[in-house]
């Protein structure tokens, strides 16, 4: 939201009067050579382990123990990946896909309709303000603290050791932040647009889908990816709610795999690469919207 406001003028400014924008850059840059050095050093710190994970996953086990850890493999091999895929990787992968989609699709949809209601009628409804307050309170509470009752509820619902048992609490945990971010974006839709929709005789339900939904798409993408990341990488709920190996999602499988093959470091790292790859691909697709959505949503 705010980024679209600042980016427009900045870009035209850049074309018409380059001296002004470069003056800004210089003024910010000069005061921060220290931050600059730090930025590059930190990039190195971030990238070294990532680089190490990738190259090591292509090494043979003997190669791993014999070679300089930061040197690329002398004889690259795909054996590690083969071992991981043969260890039921496809099943864990599907579990994670079901878990993630089963959580984020309903979570984002119900958060979106809730945010819409809060923005549209929150001013006149004590009920909606109360609900909004409840969601905001949810932001301050470490929801992990509720796992024991969640465990009890899931057992009583006979959902222990099922993916649905993880999906239900995950949806609830995703709601507070999703509603907050989506409400912020819906609030930025000009009121005149809502008025004109109403003049045309559209229902609120119609306005929701035809006006608010397309206009808040960047926020929807942001919230979807953010929650998707959280669920895909979630560890605690599967740890306490899943027992049988064939129901495990990826992070839990990764952890048990590490316990089994603790000596075969390249194979474990290959499984790290494989569990992260889908997220990297998703990130590559939605990156622009995610980054601008995050900076606009938080960085005020």
């Amino acid at each position: 939201m705010a980024t679209t406001l600042t980016q427009g003028p900045e870009r035209t400014e850049h074309r018409r009067a380059p001296s002004r924008s470069s003056a800004r850059r210089r003024s910010l840059l000069r005061l921060n050579w220290f931050g600059g050095a730090l930025g590059w050093v930190w990039l190195l710190i971030v990238m070294v382990p990532v680089y190490w994970i990738v190259i090591t996953s292509f090494k043979t086990q003997s190669n791993y123990f014999a070679q300089n850890p930061l040197a690329p493999p002398t004889a690259p091999t795909l054996d590690n990946y083969r071992l991981v895929i043969e260890s039921d990787f496809a099943r864990y992968f599907m579990n994670s896909v079901i878990l993630t989609l089963g959580t984020i699709v309903p979570a984002v949809l119900i958060s979106f309709t809730a945010a819409y209601a809060i923005v549209r009628a929150g001013r006149n409804s004590r009920f909606l303000r109360g609900v909004n307050g409840l969601f905001l309170m949810g932001l301050a509470i470490p929801l992990q603290a509720t796992i024991i009752p969640v465990y009890l509820i899931i057992i009583r619902l006979q959902l222990y050791d099922t993916l649905l048992g993880i999906i239900l609490p995950s949806i609830a945990f995703a709601i507070p932040l999703s509603v907050l971010v989506l409400a912020n974006f819906i609030r930025d839709v000009p009121n005149e647009l809502f008025e004109s929709m109403r003049m045309d005789g559209a229902t609120e339900w119609g306005t929701l889908w035809k006006l608010a939904f397309p206009l808040t798409r960047p926020a929807l993408v942001t919230v979807t990816i953010y929650n998707g990341l959280g669920v895909w990488n979630g560890f605690l709920l599967p740890l306490i709610l899943i027992q049988s190996p064939e129901q495990r999602p990826l992070p839990l499988a990764l952890w048990t795999f590490q316990g089994q093959y603790s000596i075969n470091v390249p194979a474990v790292l290959a499984s790290v690469v494989l569990t992260t790859l889908p997220i990297v691909i998703l990130y590559a697709i939605g990156r622009r919207q995610l980054l601008s959505g995050l900076t606009a949503g938080f960085g005020k």
């Binding site: 730090l38 930025g39 969601f135 301050a140 809502f194 609120e204 790290v272 990130y283 960085g299």
Partner: protein, 309 residues
């Protein structure tokens, strides 16, 4: 869905009130989210308080137990220790992350050319699961086969996870590794919203670079700092997966934070009553911290920052 009022009525109403008085027509849209949040958020939250006054081994019957769990938890020297470790990790990881994130954020905001590429690479740690990160660092820091011995560096060859102080340091480093990029991006967004005219005015007054940073950038980032700090502090209460896989609370109980204490008591020792009492303490710590940070934000503008109004 069927109770939507006919449009003519709403048009009339709408013409009298400026921002619509049609709460009945939209209010139901909040219900699915409200239901899910109550069922799996609010009820468990109240349930954890209830369970802290019972005795339960996780499988059998739940029996009322009065204040037994509370007495056991409050008299256990493990609790103050867990609180202290939690606080230490929270405070130190805040101290490491905040200055670095601000400086990197300011840098990212100024450099147009590299900004895109850097932002992409900076985001990578956030794509990895905490379990994957913990496993990676376990291998990297292995005193026999890790990075240190592999490179022949004595400085890097330490018993990183076998020494209490070092293990605590490792946790703080790994947390920073994971989250500094994210907070830098938040600060980058904050810096880009500072009006350029402020810097120009300061330049006319002859302010130097350090002066400009401290009297413009930093004060203008006040609300960004509060947002980012709230995320850091409340988030630090939930470093469960990372610590669980990396050190499992060890060596000894050197990195046994509150969340881990709760898990071990409940799901390993099968003492759900005391574990629930620890969970209640965890919730209270989170709430107090969030309220304190909001107070720091200073009155109404701080509220609107969090609520986005």
């Amino acid at each position: 869905m069927t109770t939507v009022a006919p449009p003519t009525v709403r048009v009339k109403k709408g013409s009298t009130t400026s921002s619509g008085g049609r709460s009945g027509a939209v209010a139901w849209m909040v219900l699915p989210a409200l239901f899910m949040f109550i069922a799996f958020g609010i009820i468990p939250l109240l349930g954890v308080l209830f369970l802290s006054f019972t005795q339960w081994n996780g499988i059998g019957e739940i029996r009322p137990a009065g204040f037994d769990s509370w007495r056991a938890v409050l008299s256990d020297p493990g609790l103050p220790h867990a609180l202290w470790v939690t606080f230490l990790i929270m405070a130190l990881s805040w101290l490491v992350q905040t200055p670095l994130s601000i400086l990197i954020g300011v840098f990212l905001a100024a450099h147009k050319r590299y900004r895109g590429l850097l932002a992409v690479l900076y985001f990578i740690p956030l794509l990895l699961s905490s379990a994957a990160i913990a496993i990676t660092y376990k291998f990297l820091l292995d005193p026999n086969f890790g990075l240190g011995p592999g490179l022949g560096s004595d400085l890097l060859t330490q018993d990183w996870l076998g020494n209490g102080t070092l293990a605590l340091g490792v946790v703080i480093f790994v947390v920073s590794w994971q989250f500094i990029p994210f907070h830098s991006l938040i600060y980058q967004g904050g810096v880009r919203q500072i009006p350029l005219s402020m810097y120009e005015a300061a330049e006319i007054d002859g302010a130097g670079r350090v002066r400009k940073f401290f009297s413009i950038t930093l004060p203008q980032l006040k609300y960004t700092i509060i947002t980012s700090s709230t995320l850091m502090v409340v988030g630090s209460l939930t470093f469960f997966d990372l610590i669980f896989v990396l050190t499992a609370g060890g060596p000894g109980d050197a990195t046994r934070v509150l969340a881990l204490d709760m898990y071990q008591t409940g799901f390993r020792a099968n003492l759900m009553g005391p574990a629930s009492a620890i969970a209640v303490i965890l919730v209270l710590v989170g709430l107090v911290l969030a309220l304190l940070l909001r107070r720091l934000g200073g009155g109404s503008s701080g509220d609107s920052q969090l609520e986005g109004a």
